[in-house]
Subunit: 180 residues, 2 copies
């Protein structure tokens, strides 16, 4: 890890720097299918390693028939929910990614992460669902619900988008020209 | 092209099918740097080829110093703007991608495209800027300004996101399980 300085923020302005290591865990449901998304995710995971302890955990997606019923989907999400909860680190501030969550711009996400760190939070956990999203139980027990877009993206692309935004959050806090 | 049927829509509901070929041109500023984004874009371009005549045009990004002044950025965007305008097909309905544009969900984008087709539009042109976005002139002369997210994504990733949304738009109109 090249850098594990963190920025103490007051109302979004840097007011100090502390040396702590923030752990970020990303829990996602379903496998990466396309090689290009796997490579994109690996690239951002590598870059994030310079700023935090990053860990990803893959939960297998529950198999469903071609035209699943509402009840079959609900049961699958419930099973995935139990697997997700077992992977959430104790004491972590949890962010569930879902379309009905609040939208933040990149700067607001950066401030959110840096403010949590400034408040002494050392573990953040982001949870991304599979094709049918997340069970209500995961969403309601999360500390924050985040939406990256009104649009629906395939979950593999959504993972790359999240990883890029996390990397961008650190680059914004650090300053420099990545975020213009 | 496997399929070039289009769906006539009234208030978002399919009321007929016509056989026309919609041309979609994507004009973007700057090169693809990462191989995985190039491959992701190629995959969606290939898939879109089954639904429309798809063309992409790359405009070179104007070189700027490391810490460009506002005036240098403005001049670069102006030069890019002239190059973009020269590539917009005559008679095309133009959509400029920019953060201050209107957000649509995937279904609304699908309805937007299918309604335009139903109204006899045969050419759509989407314009994506480079690192510093688009010149005001491009944005104000576009027929529509679209924002995919409040978040800022690298322009290469934004291109992949747009291509995926265009592909999704056709899959939504066609029905089936791609968009759940």
């Amino acid at each position: 890890m090249k850098n594990h300085r963190y920025f103490l923020l007051t109302k979004g302005r840097i007011c100090g720097i502390i040396n702590v290591v923030l752990s970020i865990k990303i829990i996602y449901v379903g496998k990466f299918k396309e090689q290009f998304y796997t490579e994109a995710a690996s690239e951002y995971i590598k870059r994030l390693g310079g700023y935090c302890k990053i860990e990803v955990a893959e939960i297998p997606e529950h198999r469903l028939p071609d035209k699943p019923s509402e009840a079959q989907i609900a049961l699958a999400l419930e099973k995935e929910s139990a697997a997700i909860k077992a992977k959430i680190p104790s004491g972590a501030v949890t962010v569930a990614l879902c379309i009905e969550g609040s939208e933040m711009d990149s700067r607001e996400l950066s401030v959110f992460i840096m403010e949590k760190t400034g408040q002494g939070v050392s573990k953040l956990c982001f949870v991304l669902g599979g094709s049918f999203g997340l069970h209500d139980d995961v969403k309601s027990s999360a500390d924050f619900k985040l939406s990256m877009s009104k649009m629906t993206f395939p979950h593999n692309l959504a993972r790359v988008m999240l990883l890029e935004q996390l990397y961008r959050a650190f680059k914004i806090a650090e300053g420099g020209k990545y975020h213009k």
